[in-house]
Every structure is written in C-alpha cells, then in structure tokens.
C-alpha cells in the first residue's frame, strides 16, 4: 500500500526531501510505527525522527495522533509543532 509522505520545516531539511512515496511493510500499521520504520533508515531520517515528542502529524490533511491507523490512508505529513499566526 503506497503512502504519500510530506515533510515540513526542519523535518524537511533534515531529510533533504519535500516528500516521497513509501510502501511500508504490513506490520507497520500506525503512524507511530511508520515514524519508527522511517527513523531506521538512518542519516537524516534518524535525526528528524529521533524524538517523536517534537513531531506532529497530519493524516490525509487533518491533524492526527500517532496512534492513527494507516489503513486506507493516502497522505501523511510529518512536521514540528506549528508556529503560524
């Protein structure tokens, strides 16, 4: 199952990509497990995802929790806490 990933702010900079398409293995079935799986890629990924408490997530363009299932999900964005306004 292909998922579009998007990265913003220092997550984007650490990884060096705006986004990418991934196909995580079946056992990776929540956002939390996806982040762990991505961190395992090393380099920028492990830097960006070393401390999940510093991360926030949107699933299909809505803010969501790390326990959100990946079932049927098309787009996941990973980013720092927002600082607009």
């Amino acid at each position: 199952m292909a998922i579009e990933l998007l990265y913003f702010a220092w997550v984007r900079e650490a990884i060096g990509l705006d986004g990418e398409t991934v196909e995580p293995p079946k056992e990776v079935d929540t956002v939390a497990k996806l982040v762990d799986w991505l961190a395992g890629r090393g380099d920028g990924y492990s830097e960006a995802f070393a401390d999940p408490s510093r991360l926030r997530v949107a699933v299909d363009q809505r803010f969501a929790g790390f326990d959100t299932t990946l079932e049927g999900v098309r787009e996941i964005a990973l980013f720092p806490p927002v600082t607009g306004g």
């Binding site: 913003f8 949107a58 363009q61 809505r62 964005a77 720092p80 927002v82 600082t83 306004g85």
Partner: protein
C-alpha cells in the same frame, strides 16, 4: 455567512478587509493584525505552509468560531513566503451585532490559528544565522482556555 479565507504571498489591504466586515452595518467589528517585529538583528521571516491543508484548517477555525458566537462575517488572511520586519503576517476579523461576539470570535480565531493551522516560521538574522521558531507553551495554554467557555 461564508467566511473569507485566503493564503497568499502578497500583502493585503486592511482598509478593504475592514470595509468588507463593516458592510451591512453589523454594530461591531474586531480585528487582529500580526506583524513581523522590528527587533534585534532580524532581517526576515520565512513562512512555510502545507498548501493542500492550510485553507481547510483555516476554514475549520472560522466554522468553529461561527458555531460559538453570533457573527455576521469572518475573515482570516495569512501570508506565506519571505516577509521583512514591519510586514503584515496575518489578519483575523469578525463582525457581529454585539461587541462581545465580535471580540471573542476574533480572539478565538487567532489563538487557534497559532496551534491549529499548518504554518512554520523561520527567522533569518543579519549575521546569516537562521532558526526555526519554536512553538510557545503559552500558545497551547491560550487555545486550551477556550475549552471551558
């Protein structure tokens, strides 16, 4: 009542926005404008956002405000891209029959915009240093305050 929601690189005209809110003789119009501070050696603020999500997030904030206060018009405008000190970043406005509704709806929208809209600010300084702005604890507290109202 359809809120005005805009995300744009260009500046906006606060007079035109105020005129739109005042149209119809609502009784009360409250506005908030956020501006890049002139302070220290800040040379620019870079605003990044999540284009596919931003307008939806702002529309949800406006819809939540409209469901809580008797408002006749709402506006949220947020700029993106490179902004220099003194430049406007954000405009939030509410019109209502009564002043309490206009002021509270405006205050709610700017508080929620700080925590519930996908924008990230990067500050650039005169010495070439550049830092992502850290989210403020106070912003979550300001948002939480509305839960009890």
């Amino acid at each position: 009542m359809k809120p005005v929601i805009r995300v744009q690189a260009d500046d906006f005209d606060p007079a035109a926005e105020a005129a739109r809110l005042e149209a119809g003789g609502p009784g009360a119009v409250a506005t908030f404008t956020g501006i890049v501070r002139r302070e220290g050696d800040l040379v620019a603020m870079e605003l990044e956002h999540y284009p596919a999500m931003t307008e939806r997030a702002l529309a949800k904030i406006a819809a939540d405000a409209a469901s809580r206060w008797a408002v006749t018009a709402l506006t949220i405008i947020h700029r993106v891209g490179r902004l220099t000190p003194g430049a406007r970043i954000v405009f939030v406005g509410a019109a209502a029959k009564h002043r309490g509704d206009a002021i509270e709806a405006m205050h709610f929208m700017i508080d929620w915009l700080k925590t519930d809209a996908p924008f990230w600010k990067r500050e650039q300084f005169a010495d070439g240093r550049s830092d992502w702005v850290e989210a403020r604890e106070g912003d979550s507290a300001a948002r939480a305050r509305w839960a009890g109202k």
